[in-house]
Subunit: 647 residues, 2 copies
């Protein structure tokens, strides 16, 4: 970035940061912190998730999903599939995670996907350097002079843009030591966040666990375009795991070393980023935190996605379309709309491939968390893989009218090239076949004048001599299409982060009883849709319970029979804790004909009594969100007290 | 194994092998090989799957699933979930793949999960040694004396049981060289099949990509038991990827380095392996190839699973129950029953953890392929993790009547132990707390006589002295339960292998036209359920096509509109190639009111004409297998020729 612009912006940014911190602190204070701790304890106790390999002491940044978390994740992913893949007719793929080095070299991950870290020189403990500097400066500030304080603030604002030498100088300036042991620290070193391994037995093929699922789609671009009969735009999607070897992960499910992503790569004409269904979502209201507002210290504002695109705040219709769809999806699963915003990346934080990017951020007890990214990666990735492989990753776009094109082509002497350059000859041949007119003519003229010409490819120099070129062919060609390298718009969902935010947002404590907690997940997200509870262990209840369980299985309503001892209230409380939205109780009145049961709704704890025969279909439709509890309440008589029917 | 028994069995085994080879050769000849090649070409052309990173030259043993393969896989896994997890109320979990070394050390994988290989001493190429020896001996046999031939046969039969020294001797005896270069080969070396990496930035924590999903369930056993309210039996399930660094994979989707597994771990009382639902499947007919029949050179036979368990051919009811369910599942997805059998492992091929094992094998063009394993792992894994962590992985079993138990307990002096053994004290304390009466009394007597006692734990020696023991407490305790380490029955599904077999089994060539091929997948497995085809590009068809597409989306019937040019016959053929079971055609008669369309079934190519309003529900039910084509044929008039209605 221009240093002069930087100088102008720096104080503004400091202001932004200050304001941001104030707001964040206020928000955090408002969030009932005890509730969150209670929620997390509950989630672990009920095995929604917990640390992996706990009996071996656990590994930080790795978590297992238990039965409830796993079912919730399954529901989330199924809904995602129907919301995006099915409804938008995307091409879903499933690619391998083990990725050979050249692919990630081309994508930029081998060189750039790294954080700076320092090591404790005595015990080897590692620290992420920017986190360490920020924490130590914030600590120093408290007892510092105004001058030192200003210096600290200035550094913190600029930290994101600093490299190793600058950070190293700051460490020396403030004599930084390990915050744990006070030992000396190493010089900063780059730590690549990819897990490395070797593919095959020779140990010669280096591979990595993919750091994102996107690359699997890019390397398959040609097949996918062909599958789509050569037409643009189209979108591919992938759900799968990715891996990042975080230096010291400490934020629960939010920063983990292994995580599930759901990614979409929408390929479109770089000259035409309109979207056919934009008008369907034009009026969607959305909270935006634009880069401009962040820079100017202004706040989030509400607008419609239509206005945001019209005013060029959001770069194009396709990004806008996906932002609206992302919001629809997040609200559908149960995210609190008041704790959702879209924040635009500022220039200095954009990933190496992106040219515009909006994050759907969700407010949790950890602050605002990036849960879905929506980036315009332009043609970066397809170009990189083309450069690395020589395989053109482009689409054909019909010209409005055919044009005559002058073609100048080098006809090479393959055997002469092969003799001189051996296995490198292919690289050279591909290069020469793809030159434009100017380049061919430049080679022609230097061969004619000096008898040779040097070509540089990927740092290698090839010396061409006259005998290697048979002729320079000139002809005209009628061209009906132009080749274009598509732009890519990428909505990328962090599944674990969304799940965690959803669980925080849906955690509730009953106003009348602090000990009773529940998760108010929408029925279609709940891990188990209903419980079947006999009022007591009276054997007369058994046949009806079995009949109901069978009917529910046939209607594909997941359920759990809980015939354990314990009062009906206690058993309801236990199902509330795992978000079961509906409870069916078989009581003494159920034994009379026509058989009826009570059905209870989790959030309101209200109950109705309905005929047994109605149960499977009513429960099926309520579980899918196709029938609302309010309508069920209107149709069936309200039921007041389970205990009263006990004889 | 007893060498005398081995000597008796060897000739029998040779005979078995010979017979097996003959049968296999016959079968392979019978399988229309060209069809299989055609099928595989078709699968790649239609991007069901293809080699990963192909534009980079590909990596052997890694494959990507394209849109069709991915949808098929999704259908397979959804059905698996409803068939096993839902119907049997299993606890599904989702555990991390990156696994720290101690976990896999305990499970035996670090030491034993290896193949022997040799390297070409000049170019470093690696060969799996047993494959290399077998291939070279089979080649030598052809021009050998009777004596040498007998020697070769004997070696081949015993190969599975041989270690490095024996194989090395054989390599020397037959002067084996690289089959590719004829270069000299290295001595045999063990190659561990796990991919290794490091977790965290220090490089000190060794980790592996899991070689199976099972261990994630075992290390979570305590939480799962608790989730199940402490009750046995229960089953946990997991769908996820696992990794094996195969030495030189060459069998397409059948031997890959990264693959999806669906595993079940059924935990039960080792004294009681009955299954409550066994009677539901007792009469299921099943093809068995028992270990005894393999040894005696007898063939596969048909029996019922009830008889197989009654005769102790199958070890217990729970394995039997799962074998029947595995078969039901495989037939439901469309595996040919005539190409399915259950083969029992012989003693010498059982995995290091198993005490009985049956493989569901499916016949493909590669021969019989192990697609689902069903093993009794006994208490091996839980025991190993208990030993490694000191955490008891056991369940409590109520005793028929409470008993009084004499307890002898060492009361240790924690501070004395801590002072002497520092951080090792915990290991010792755990050990001492778990000793039985005899062991405690032995320590007591040696402390009394010599004043000290040595304890060996994991190769470490601890010397106890009198001051470390406060007292030896003796008392009686009323005991209501006994602690048992559950046995584990494990059905383990190789998802990619099943998919490949299914695609081979369902590939068809139209008898009247060799160029026309299709996959006869059941409707519930088909990647896309129906196509919507306007008869021509006449714009009058567009509104009806849009209306149908919308109605099908609402009914959750995945479909594809194909309005490209090309005759209706060609477009049907294209959908046949990707297994689309139903085709809807909007033709000129459709434009008349009441609107009707034709619906075509893929396998029979028969068509009916039905009202547009009926389409979504009929298609939804047919797609789920809840309505049969035969019944649709009975209800709606048959339609003969699309072309005839064109005007």
């Amino acid at each position: 970035m221009d240093p002069e612009v930087e100088a102008l912006l720096a104080p503004l940014r400091a202001l932004v940061k200050e304001q941001g911190d104030v707001v964040r602190e206020l928000k955090t204070q408002k969030a009932p912190e005890m509730d969150v701790k209670k929620a997390v304890a509950e989630l672990k106790r009920r095995f929604f998730y917990d640390q992996s390999f706990a009996i071996y002491g656990g590994v930080s940044g790795q978590y297992d999903f238990g039965p409830m978390g796993c079912a919730l994740k399954g529901n989330l992913l199924n809904l995602w599939r129907s919301f995006f893949v099915m409804e938008e007719q995307m091409l879903e793929v499933d690619c391998t995670m083990l990725t050979p080095e050249p692919v990630l070299k081309a994508s930029g991950h081998v060189d750039k996907f790294a954080d700076l870290m320092v090591k404790d020189l005595k015990n080897g403990e590692c620290f992420r350097l920017d986190h360490l500097i920020k924490a130590q400066l914030e600590k120093s500030e408290k007892k510092a002079t105004a001058e030192v304080k200003a210096r600290c603030d200035d550094i913190i604002v600029k930290l994101d843009n600093m490299g190793a030498p600058e950070m190293s100088a700051i460490m020396k300036e403030f004599s930084m030591k390990s915050p744990v042991t006070n030992n000396d620290l190493s010089e900063p070193m780059e730590f690549n966040l990819m897990f490395q391994t070797h593919i095959g037995p020779t140990g010669l093929m280096k591979g990595f666990l993919r750091p994102e699922t996107a690359q699997g789609i890019f390397v398959n671009f040609k097949r996918l375009l062909e599958f789509n009969q050569g037409k643009l735009p189209f979108a591919a999607a992938q759900i799968g795991n990715a891996f990042r070897n975080e230096i010291s992960p400490r934020s629960g499910l939010l920063r983990v070393r292994e995580f599930t992503m759901a990614e979409i790569e929408h390929f479109c004409d770089p000259q035409d980023k309109s979207h056919p269904k934009f008008d369907d979502i034009r009026g969607t209201e959305i909270c935006l935190y634009s880069a401009a507002n962040q820079m100017e210290g202004k706040s989030v504002y509400k607008t419609t996605i239509g206005e945001a695109v019209d005013s060029s705040t959001v770069a194009n219709h396709t990004i806008g379309y996906f932002m609206a769809r992302i919001q629809q999806f997040l609200l559908k699963i149960g995210i609190d709309p008041k704790r959702l915003r879209f924040r635009q990346h500022m220039g200095n934080e954009m990933a190496h491939y992106a040219c515009d990017c909006w994050d759907a951020e969700i407010l949790t007890s950890y602050g605002w968390v990036e849960c879905v990214g929506c980036a315009d990666r332009s043609a970066f990735d397809l170009n990189q893989h083309y450069k690395a492989t020589g395989v053109k990753l482009c689409a054909e776009k019909p010209l409005p009218e055919p044009v005559m094109e002058n073609v100048v082509e080098l006809i090479t002497n393959k055997s002469a090239l092969g003799k001189t350059f051996k296995k490198e000859a292919k690289l050279l041949t591909t290069h020469l076949a793809n030159l434009d007119t100017a380049a061919v003519e430049s080679i022609e003229s230097s061969l004619n004048s000096t008898g040779q010409h040097s070509v540089e490819i990927d740092g290698q120099t090839f010396t061409l001599t006259k005998d290697m070129i048979v002729e320079v062919k000139r002809f005209q060609k009628k061209v009906f299409v132009e080749e274009i390298i598509p732009s890519v718009i990428e909505p990328s969902f962090g599944v674990g982060r969304i799940m965690y935010s959803l669980l925080e947002h849906s955690f509730r404590v009953r106003p009348d009883d602090e000990q009773r907690t529940y998760f108010s997940l929408p029925a279609w997200m709940a891990p188990i849709k209903c419980s079947v509870l006999p009022l007591s262990n009276n054997p007369d209840f058994i046949p009806l319970v079995k009949l109901l369980s069978k009917a529910l299985t046939e209607a594909e309503v997941s359920h759990k029979v809980d015939d354990s001892s314990g009062s009906i209230g206690k058993r309801y409380a236990r199902t509330d804790e795992v978000a079961v939205p509906f409870g069916i109780c078989v009581d003494f009145d159920s034994l009379k004909t026509p058989h009826t049961v009570t059905v209870r709704e989790r959030d309101s704890t209200l109950q109705v009594r309905m005929p047994v025969d109605d149960v499977p279909e009513v429960l099926r439709r309520m579980s899918q969100g196709k029938l609302l509890w309010d309508d069920v309440m209107k149709k069936y008589p309200k039921f007041e007290q389970q205990q009263s029917s006990q004889k």
